[in-house]
């Protein structure tokens, strides 16, 4: 018969385990603050780094901003001056060389048409194309007498000559006989006719 006598007081009893609660608490008391301190230090370092980046960028912006404003002013000046150059040079592109047109009219009046020109009136004006671009346009009114029995055919021939004249082609958009009536000129024969042909010119833009 074995007899087991427990002589250790309950307060003197110790756990047989290697990891005791007490040692865990001791470790935690040291490790947890270290981790927290490390985390705070890293956070502060990151913050300092981001703040430095921001400060650096702020410095760059302080340096670039006045230069950017100067670049903006220069760009505005460039746009205004280029626009002005186009407007002034537009005078050359928008005009039509009327001496060529008048020469073209002269050449189109063939002697066999028996046409006597009485009046030529060209008028050009300025207007806006698409409400945006100023342009010049105009028209030429040719009035004259067609003499003899073939007056009507001759006026048609003249109209056709205007349409096919090398000087006028490309500039003239429409050639229309506006008037064709008996001549009231003194000494006119019963076959003589007064006529008016209107030539419309394509608009030429100031650009």
């Amino acid at each position: 018969m074995n007899l087991r006598v427990d002589l250790i007081l309950p307060t003197e009893q110790r756990s047989a385990s290697v990891v005791s609660l007490k040692s865990l608490i001791r470790i935690a008391i040291i490790v947890v603050p270290i981790i927290i301190l490390l985390a705070i230090a890293m956070g502060v370092l990151y913050m300092l780094s981001y703040r430095n980046d921001f400060k650096d960028m702020e410095e760059q912006w302080k340096d670039a901003q006045p230069k950017q404003e100067a670049a903006g002013r220069l760009r505005q000046e460039l746009i205004a001056n280029e626009d002005l150059a186009v407007k002034v040079a537009g005078w050359a592109t928008s005009r039509l060389l009327w001496h060529e047109q008048l020469r073209g009219i002269q050449k189109a009046v063939q002697p066999e048409f028996k046409i006597q020109l009485l009046r030529l009136a060209l008028s050009s004006s300025q207007f806006m194309v698409d409400n945006r671009i100023p342009a010049r346009g105009g028209g030429l009114v040719v009035q004259g007498l067609a003499l003899g029995e073939n007056a009507e055919a001759n006026v048609r021939n003249l109209q056709q000559a205007f349409l096919t004249s090398p000087a006028l082609t490309g500039c003239v958009t429409q050639v229309e006989v506006k008037r064709f009536e008996a001549s009231t000129v003194e000494k006119a024969t019963k076959y003589d006719r007064f006529f008016q042909i209107d030539l419309n010119y394509a608009p030429r833009k100031f650009q």
Partner: protein, 220 residues
Amino acid sequence: MKLPEGKKERTQVFVAIGLGAAAVLYCVYLGVGWIVSKKKDLQAKTGELRDKVNKANMEIDMMSKDRKGNVEALRKIVSLSNQYMLKPRLGQNYILAAKDQIEGWADKADLMTTEAALQIQERGIGDIAQAPGVKTVPPVKTYTAYVSFSAGYNHAIRFIKAIEASNPLLAIQNVTVQSRPPPQVESHAVGVDIQWPIWSDPDTPSRLEAQLAAGEGTEK
């Protein structure tokens, strides 16, 4: 340090430790949250500034090209202005300057004769067509002079050709060639409106020249 022996006291100590640890963790959580939000805020601000700096740098890089373009545009305007735009004489008088030019062309076309009876009249200053709603004063206006004379058709064409060849900016606005009854059938009544571009502000040429000088100085 020893833990109390009583179970109740031990529990109280553990609860106190637990509460302390929870408080510390909560503080850490708040601190981390603050750092994260601050970081996001700083990153956003830095990113915004970086974009602005990049855009500014791109615009600054364009400056030398813009400067060159500006000087080119100014050279073109100043050249056209000096060569071809009508400049007023004293007291904003344009007709004297126009008259000198017209008489030169008339001379070339043999129209400075008594028979030609050349006459020059001032039509005045007008505006170029402008887009509706535009309220700014256009920089360029028109000045028109009317010339009348008696001549044959070929003389009239020579006169108009002389005008058009002398100045690419000049525009013939209106022309009438009216035949006359016998015996003057060879001499027509001719009327021509000649239009020049002029500066709306007479100080524009000097301002442009100053701008050009400044631009050329910077270019060097």
